[in-house]
Assembly symmetry: D3
Homo-oligomer: 312 residues x 6
Amino acid sequence: MKIITQLMKSSSRGVFLKPVLKPLLLGSARSMSADVTSKYNFETLKVTQPKEFVTQVEMNRPKKLNAMNKAFWSEMRTCFQQLNSDSDCRVIVLSGAGKVFTAGLDLTDLDTVAVMQSDLDPSRKAFMIRGTIADYQETFTVIEKCTKPVIAAIHNACIGGGIDMTSACDIRYATQDSFFQIKEVDIGLAADVGTLQRFPKIVGNDSLVRELIYTARRFHSDEAKEMGFVSRIFPDKESMLTGAMDIAEIIASKSPVAVQGSKVSLVFSRDHSVREGLEHVAVWNQGMLQSEDVMKAVMAGMEKKTPKFSKL
Amino acid sequence: MKIITQLMKSSSRGVFLKPVLKPLLLGSARSMSADVTSKYNFETLKVTQPKEFVTQVEMNRPKKLNAMNKAFWSEMRTCFQQLNSDSDCRVIVLSGAGKVFTAGLDLTDLDTVAVMQSDLDPSRKAFMIRGTIADYQETFTVIEKCTKPVIAAIHNACIGGGIDMTSACDIRYATQDSFFQIKEVDIGLAADVGTLQRFPKIVGNDSLVRELIYTARRFHSDEAKEMGFVSRIFPDKESMLTGAMDIAEIIASKSPVAVQGSKVSLVFSRDHSVREGLEHVAVWNQGMLQSEDVMKAVMAGMEKKTPKFSKL
Amino acid sequence: MKIITQLMKSSSRGVFLKPVLKPLLLGSARSMSADVTSKYNFETLKVTQPKEFVTQVEMNRPKKLNAMNKAFWSEMRTCFQQLNSDSDCRVIVLSGAGKVFTAGLDLTDLDTVAVMQSDLDPSRKAFMIRGTIADYQETFTVIEKCTKPVIAAIHNACIGGGIDMTSACDIRYATQDSFFQIKEVDIGLAADVGTLQRFPKIVGNDSLVRELIYTARRFHSDEAKEMGFVSRIFPDKESMLTGAMDIAEIIASKSPVAVQGSKVSLVFSRDHSVREGLEHVAVWNQGMLQSEDVMKAVMAGMEKKTPKFSKL
Amino acid sequence: MKIITQLMKSSSRGVFLKPVLKPLLLGSARSMSADVTSKYNFETLKVTQPKEFVTQVEMNRPKKLNAMNKAFWSEMRTCFQQLNSDSDCRVIVLSGAGKVFTAGLDLTDLDTVAVMQSDLDPSRKAFMIRGTIADYQETFTVIEKCTKPVIAAIHNACIGGGIDMTSACDIRYATQDSFFQIKEVDIGLAADVGTLQRFPKIVGNDSLVRELIYTARRFHSDEAKEMGFVSRIFPDKESMLTGAMDIAEIIASKSPVAVQGSKVSLVFSRDHSVREGLEHVAVWNQGMLQSEDVMKAVMAGMEKKTPKFSKL
Amino acid sequence: MKIITQLMKSSSRGVFLKPVLKPLLLGSARSMSADVTSKYNFETLKVTQPKEFVTQVEMNRPKKLNAMNKAFWSEMRTCFQQLNSDSDCRVIVLSGAGKVFTAGLDLTDLDTVAVMQSDLDPSRKAFMIRGTIADYQETFTVIEKCTKPVIAAIHNACIGGGIDMTSACDIRYATQDSFFQIKEVDIGLAADVGTLQRFPKIVGNDSLVRELIYTARRFHSDEAKEMGFVSRIFPDKESMLTGAMDIAEIIASKSPVAVQGSKVSLVFSRDHSVREGLEHVAVWNQGMLQSEDVMKAVMAGMEKKTPKFSKL
Amino acid sequence: MKIITQLMKSSSRGVFLKPVLKPLLLGSARSMSADVTSKYNFETLKVTQPKEFVTQVEMNRPKKLNAMNKAFWSEMRTCFQQLNSDSDCRVIVLSGAGKVFTAGLDLTDLDTVAVMQSDLDPSRKAFMIRGTIADYQETFTVIEKCTKPVIAAIHNACIGGGIDMTSACDIRYATQDSFFQIKEVDIGLAADVGTLQRFPKIVGNDSLVRELIYTARRFHSDEAKEMGFVSRIFPDKESMLTGAMDIAEIIASKSPVAVQGSKVSLVFSRDHSVREGLEHVAVWNQGMLQSEDVMKAVMAGMEKKTPKFSKL
């Protein structure tokens, strides 16, 4: 007891609190006016803010068919971690520049292949490989950890890693001409960055899921819609992006406390029993129901006005 | 060892068993002839027995659009706990009186709002709020704990708490004109009485689930059917209730030991691994396969007769 | 959207909040001055408040060796549910009146035995028996659900149900002359109200645990201490109660938000992985660190004073 | 330390390794040329190898409508355990000989019924019954434990145990005239060999699942397709078997390391959280990515050739 | 419906039940009189029945220090599976013939080593190795699955696999001169047949557990007792076997329904949350409380006689 | 298929593998010769390599009693992440410079306090606080994620965060004069960086655990040893460091594949059922048993030499 209290004597309440708080709170204020592109400066991703509180993340290696190279695996992670604490962002639309959404893993740019081919002792290789897999898994898990809803807007090819990635998104829209391929068995491996874990929990036809995984055959937008992998089909990329932005705008207009709490609870509940999910959301809401957003939303509802929510 | 045996000396087997047993067994016998409405006397619910072993629970505040007020949250819990041990009830049909199924939470009648608005210390508010949420959660969890199948018969509006409630039912039927709304983000909060836990485990289109939750938009009977939330659409309320009663009657004619064991196992298995679910049903059936119902059912099958099962 | 907003029109914010809030907050205020004995009026339990915020619950059928009869199973549940929301109670000491702590289950007063002996169909008996077991389990689980620490003060015999009950307590103290017996196999059954679940997770010698359970042999205070079931031995009942009260008083002087949050997290974490336990306490504390108690405690520490915490 | 090293002195590295290895490796080599029918000699099953690496298992009691008798429950287990380690088998097609796929449990040939009817003490019956249930459950769980994909090709009736069995398969195809019935409540029991555990996790319409289970009503191929239980409908048995063989051939042409790793991960991930599933596949692939199949597959892809994979 | 009933017509109730039942029930009757040694005929194990209902399993390769060779891994599994359904066995004492309890894995007799050394593709080796590990794990898991309590009586060396094996037993006794060694890191591997899973859940000093595992140092009987791995120390092997037999005899005199139900619940509860453990034992006891043993035990208790329980 | 193969055409196998591999493998080679202190340059930590493969991490703010400030929370994380992939490190000894091990949280240097005191909306505060807690939790979880064993060498005061930190270590040694305090309730909060999750799973006396947590009283080295929190007591800091280094040296001499695999399995198994732990270690070892270390270790054992293992 003595030790702690001695440590504290030298500082009075007023002194140590104020200076710390200021930059902390200003920080988020300043971020509002900052230019989104300068904040998010990536080689493989283009980040823009087409509407208030709506961020678009575009995979941006069109000449390489947005294949996932080493820079991508690292930048995606950084990008979504940053978006997670950016109060100007409430919803994210994830799309691909150029002709296709993504061709998946860029096999020309992988350390793992080098490790696999080396003469190292198998157990030492294994430690290295596990490290890389864990890193790549985290790249897509950050999409899920990011508390803001992520809408994948898919056109043309969505292959291999593209399925892993979009399975970690909240909502999937696609163009009429889009097609999908769970490619991994074709390159001699079991998918290991999320498809086998998330894809079957998203759709309602396990028989089809397994056929697609074991055969690596293509499936098209209509089959994807019927099985519940995507929820809307649009005639082309442009109309899809418009549609995605419209939904994004609606979500962005809601209380971010409510929307992000919903995502946290949905992700938690998918992986736990109903009872555990209920306990979790009760503990979550014991704090969150004290939000000013509840009263703002209720009042606005009564007055038939659109509420404006503070940044989060 | 001594203590227990001494306690017992004073009573002989014959003496202490008989008197206890009689009222216990008569109790369930008497309940058979009792008038169901007098047994189930509620302000917000109307309970009737349209067919043998079939109970109808009707939300009964039509002028308030069956909005869920404090009395409702408490009465539902009591009602289903009572039905759970009522041997005259084998199936429950849950419907709404008046124009709509339910408008959801009655915001005009909530203690929680008062707590939220008070000047209490945030941690003390949190303890209070958690208590209330836990109580409300229990109100719908009793539907699931009740071992008898519950059929929700939904017409017109089913909003907010209505989704939480019907997600805890076994079977959902709806009228052509019905519509649904996961309303919670519109009042500034993450749904906390079951929708986020149960709804996504019921249907097979997670992309759509999340769109509906984040946007709070309405969806209609056909979309509800397509996504697997309801399994039958009827032209109107009357035909739906007839249809629900017909199915209820069929279920009521089956062995209650078999049907209720199936529900217990289904609910358990949803929340556990397949292996755990198998172990559970094996332990359950090691006792239940000794039921007279098995031989009754098999014999009736061979003789092409309809078996009659004892009360449970 | 319309429906909810229409419902709300008729009430303005000021109107519906105020009247609800008043009794709610007064309620907890009034409970402070109320006489504890009149609030807790039981046949088998005596409830007193020996010190501020410290409640003593005494099993009170000394002539029957505090054997657990039907009234006890019901009253314990009610008592601890009530204590859980009583802001005058921060710690509970659970003891037994008379010569022994408890002789365990009162076999002369059990419906279950009657059911077992009846001619009912085995599956129908099973449904009845499961109901009773679940009720009895809940009687001790409420000790764990009650967020206030419970100290068991054990003297002389602690048999059968006594082990189940004290295993659900937080802290166990015992007198030198105390002895314990996991009696259940001696009456032909596997213990089913908590010993087999909680006891092995409390102590650190599974080999001994199983010997005690399979043989139903007595073990004494020193063995109980050595294996980690009790943490302190006192010469006699009087000194033990004094010791228990002293510890209870210390706990009662701490922030109830901190102490009760700790219990909630301990119970949760015992049953979950470390990772899940960490996530749970993070969600818990995101609200609870906003408590006034934190600053009160820190300030008091710096000023070397004893903080006074508001009721919870 | 001494003890082990002494044990080892007597054998030098070269000596003890070689002789052991030879038969072990030859063993799998020899199995290649062996006649599949002589290896798999069963009373109730006919096992053939219509294509390289494709095994067909046909239930073969057409006069008894392929009803599941005692021999069947035992032979299925043996058959799939054997197939699991047969390197000539990479995919399995499971079908039924004669007019129907299967009529389910053969009630005329069951020990359990005898046990149920006996005068044994209920607890002793329970131990016996649990043993039998566990055995029967294992009969279908081996389909899931077998790392090779299993395609069920269903025609006409698929009743009772047929649902339990096909729910444990990976892919389900059916003929236009096929119908299904979760029969168990009609014989007075809750299904206990897998339907209640696996069926609801396969499809995306829980409302319909429960209706089918509680009513035991038949459902037909189109309803089965719509709810996601089967993924393809064929006009008749012949075209279905051709279709199933075509898919089987495609799967058999892929890397068995990749396909079987995918099945292992899919089954594991169904029963665990996404995070746990990801950790599992990372540990799995830390070894498996060292497979020669990866480079073979990648090289073949680049050269637009079909790779040939070694036996597994 | 038709199909099943047609199947049944040809057999009447009386006909199909009787003949099946007889051998089934006689089977267990006959086993009683059979000579235990002829029933349990093993190369590496000696099985005797020193007292009624008490079976002794002795590892019996004294010249090889009871090292675990291929025959052992297979015979242990068979032996305990057989004991599990042998109604003459209610408790098992597991001991070692000769100078030591066991030297652990017999490295001179292992296929795995051959596989490890071969030129096979690493992924194909991995499939083979996993099969062997799974088999060896099952060898000790059967000790746990066997519902009868198993007492390990350890003298002198208990090394490597000996720790894995005894960690799967219920109770561990040891001689004063016994010593233990978690040997695996010394042969270059992480223990994989149970020590890392079971050992830390048995004792109450995780710091010591990890020191022992990482250093592979010996620890002696007193340290084993202090940390809670063994619960009794005896001066020598003879006195230990006498002590173990005495405890075994006591356990054998109790209701086997009660004792074996306790073991099932203990094993289940170790691996589940308290809540799940409680639900499991409630479902278990809903059938088991109908046992004649309950009344026999209670009556015997009242009359201060020793009850005699039927075989199980 | 086309897309991927096209991507690959431009690179031949030899070309893309070699250049990538070289720096990767050289990287780990170079790290060997690098000066450890220059690699690990921290403000609050001093990192040295007293023996080959043994790293010492010393908390290094002696004037501040090694209180945990913002820099510390960040540097610890970085330090252990770096050590995790440093092949020169096989074991870590964690100690404190100066008079005490650590005084715990540095309350004078915390953003969280500022946030707590601000006027922000409670739900927005909650999001911020949760972020900070999660970061701090990760600081100690990295100790557990680091696959190398960590030995805590504790002298004098180990308070608050010190308990959280050492509970995440593998082995705990302490000096005679050391004392411990689970301080958190004294500053008004439930411990939230690991104590409530890990501490009770380490020791075998839950009654004492809860007394210490609820009262925040100090406990001394002997009580810590008796309850199993520390496993060795040394007379003073110097002898303790010598003792810790000796054990560290022994561990460092073992196969790192074996030791680190053991840690991974121990941590996994603590949080899963025995069955899941066994499956996990089987999948782990299917790759790791192919390690050269196994044969090296076995050969060295037979030849009574000390094996030398390659870097990992």
